[in-house]
Amino acid sequence: MSAPTTVLFDVPGPRARARNTAAGVVTLAVVVALVGVLVWRLAATGQLDARMWEWILYERIQLDVLDGLVMTLQAFASAAVLAVVFGAVLALGRVSDHPWLRRTSSGVLEAFRAIPVVVLMFLLYYGMPSVGVTVSTYVAIVLALTVYNGAVLGEIFRAGILAVPRGQSEAAYALGLRKSGVMRFVLLPQAVRSMLPSIVSQLVVLLKDSALGFLITYPELLFQAQRLGSNAELGYPLIPVAIVVAVVYITLCLLLSALATWLERRSRRNPAVRTVAPRPEDGE
């Protein structure tokens, strides 16, 4: 998307250059001021004192935080696998030849996409016990993430299958393949390749949403942060712990996003793969 940036303005002359430099300096000054205020407040409220960061030295606490990380990754991994499977099932239903199957799947898909993940999670964790089914936090978070992201992935898969040129399936039918064969050997391999970047982008959303487990006290990273932060012996180091946890979360997400970008670039280079424009990200 470098085209609009070069076409929107002329090559700057001497006056425009001076103006741009001035604007750049002002921008940097504003950013430095904002960061400065933040650091000043951190220092003024004693968040940067050595005592507040002492917790990082204790082995047990390090293990606790590591535990939180493992819990986060566990929820993410199980939900990711299940969501891909659920999404595939929904997508197959939506491109089915049977109208009733098509209608049911799109109904399910619409409903699950409309219900917020938090409400789904609360439904499973706080709601189910009132009909006598106790659900662990882990199951609640994995199921909620699966159902929601599965619905979104279902849309992505469907778009991918529909984007494969008609000639491909026609040729496969002409060769005598059955419906399942056309889907398995011809349509799906091409669809998955072209949709891979979008799928990974959706997995970033899933990873971010796994932090919602905090709200139902699933012992993931953020939960550990709050637990440590309310520890009086350590001097309530909520903000220092939160900073560390934030760095961990953001690094994980950045790595996954980088994978998505890399996949997209690779498939764009490969002429055999028609990249379907990735779904506009909508900030789930």
């Binding site: 998307m1 917020p116 953020l222 939160a242 979360y249 900030g283």
Partner: protein, 214 residues
């Protein structure tokens, strides 16, 4: 049914708060997001870097973390603000990153000839962007922007986890009265379906009608 009818006032006022959060953060995120998009296509390298950095950072931060900071950290560091306002700030900052990407995508759909013609007429960057490019970009931006805002509407429930009196927390009231939390939450889920499905339908229609134009 009685779970809903007994608490109808509370249910409705909570959805009112949800809508309040949604409208305030929606407007704020659109303004901030458009400004960020303008920064990202501007001729000033520092502005482009700051815009890109902001978007990359916020898009890769869980919303829960953003609200965690505003709910638990902000008052410790700065001064007291009611959490409703803090939630609006957090949701706006988070959503602005996605609005920015959508608007920037829309800018790139406007044919290059349009801005070339604007420049030939002697318009500067600000004029080209605000008078020529953005008004034309609206067509392709509105449908995806609607889905960004739908996501925001659903994201407001995260604030319920941090004690905003919002639809997501309706089950607690019912629970205190000994009612069925499951039924309460099902009503909340239904409420969201009722709010979101028409918005999705509008978005689909706009997409179909407006995508033909170019």
């Amino acid at each position: 049914m009685s779970v809903l009818l007994d608490n109808l006032d509370d249910f409705l006022s909570r959805f009112g708060v949800t809508l309040g959060l949604f409208v305030l953060s929606g407007v704020a995120s659109m303004i901030l997001g458009t400004l960020l998009a303008a920064m990202r296509v501007s001729p000033v390298p520092a502005m482009r870097t700051v815009g890109t950095g902001y978007v990359t950072l916020l898009r890769n931060t869980p919303l829960t973390l953003v609200l965690f900071f505003f709910a638990l950290g902000f008052t410790k560091l700065f001064f007291y603000l009611p959490f409703f306002l803090l939630a609006v700030v957090g949701l706006s900052l988070y959503t602005a990153a996605f609005v920015c990407e959508t608007v920037r995508g829309g800018i790139s759909t406007v044919p290059a000839g349009q801005s070339e013609a604007a420049r030939a007429l002697g318009l500067g960057f600000t004029q080209t962007l605000s008078l020529i490019v953005l008004p034309q970009a609206i067509r392709s931006v509105v449908p995806p922007l609607t889905s960004v805002q739908i996501a925001l509407l659903k994201n407001t429930t995260v604030a319920a986890g941090f004690s905003v009196v919002e639809a997501g927390g309706f089950y607690r009231v019912v629970n205190e009265q000994g009612g069925s939390t499951l039924v309460a939450l099902l009503w909340v889920a239904l409420g969201f379906v009722i709010l979101v499905v028409p918005l999705t339908a509008v978005q689909r229609r706009l997409e179909k009608r407006w995508s033909v134009a170019r």
